[in-house]
């Protein structure tokens, strides 16, 4: 009788612990506040685009054509994204900005530098060389395939 009671108490205690653990997990788990995330994505993404616009206007004022200026702006933003990733600042921007830091071309640069830096110890071929393209690879593969298909369709329709 005593033993059974002891079992019940044990079970009760285990359940209490489980409940406590569940509450602890709930409290520690990051909350996905969609509205706040969207506002931050808007502000950070918008700000990065404004920086791009300032560079674009500057390069146009230096006498570059619109297409060249856009290409040089893209290169400049890639440089900034790669540099900020290297010194560990882009991670912080990413924590605040979410998609606002992923979608601009600086985020593309971040997706190139971060894994390559991380896997450097695996060597310069399969570490840096391969991991540069962890995300950039799929982006280029699907981007190039789609644009080639569009070109072919355009050729056939001409």
């Amino acid at each position: 009788m005593v033993a059974v009671k002891g079992n019940n108490e044990q079970q009760q205690e285990q359940e209490n612990q489980r409940e406590e653990y569940r509450l602890l997990v709930e409290s520690v788990k990051p909350k996905h506040n969609i509205l706040k995330n969207c506002v931050m994505a808007f502000l950070v993404g918008g700000t990065i685009c404004v920086i791009g616009q300032l560079f674009l206007d500057f390069f146009i004022s230096q006498g570059l054509g619109e297409r060249e200026a856009a290409a040089v702006t893209a290169g400049t933003m890639v440089f900034l994204g790669a540099f900020l990733t290297g010194i560990g600042v882009y991670d912080q921007i990413g924590k605040i900005g979410g998609a606002g830091s992923i979608i601009p071309i600086t985020g593309f640069a971040n997706s190139i530098v971060a894994p390559a830096m991380e896997y450097k110890r695996e060597g310069f071929l399969f570490g840096v060389g391969a991991k540069l393209f962890t995300v950039a690879g799929p982006v280029l593969v699907y981007g190039i395939i789609t644009s080639c298909l569009i070109g072919i369709i355009y050729y056939l329709l001409q």
Partner: protein, 119 residues
């Protein structure tokens, strides 16, 4: 000044769409899906003529998000087809994005070798 404001608003909104896609489908759509989706989406929107008006309106607000990279790929391919025929379909996209891609490889490589991860 209006141009800057438009770049901010349009660029910001393009990012909000991505944030919503990630938050509402978490965890099935990852940042990698977003980047690939934006480039592919940019190519498709551009090819039916819907992305150029956005670029005209918002400038860098439309070209800095990765969908602008897709736009550049598509316009490169289409323009090259007009000039060189079928060969252009294969060369145009890569040619028009060459600066961005080369910059990404060169600077990406340099900073990955130069710096070490923080944590």
């Amino acid at each position: 000044m209006l141009k800057i404001l438009l770049a901010f608003v349009v660029g910001g909104l393009i990012c909000v769409i991505g944030q919503l896609l990630m938050d509402l489908t978490r965890p099935s759509i990852t940042p990698a899906h977003i980047l690939v989706g934006y480039v592919t989406g940019g190519v498709l929107l551009s090819s039916v003529g819907l992305y150029q008006p956005l670029v005209d309106l918002a400038g860098a607000g439309a070209t800095i998000p990765l969908s602008g990279f897709g736009h550049s790929l598509a316009q490169g391919a289409i323009k090259a087809v007009e000039q060189k025929g079928l060969l252009g379909a294969f060369s145009g996209g890569i040619e028009s994005t060459a600066v961005g891609v080369a910059a990404a490889v060169i600077f990406g490589y340099a900073f990955a070798v130069l710096f070490n991860p923080r944590s």
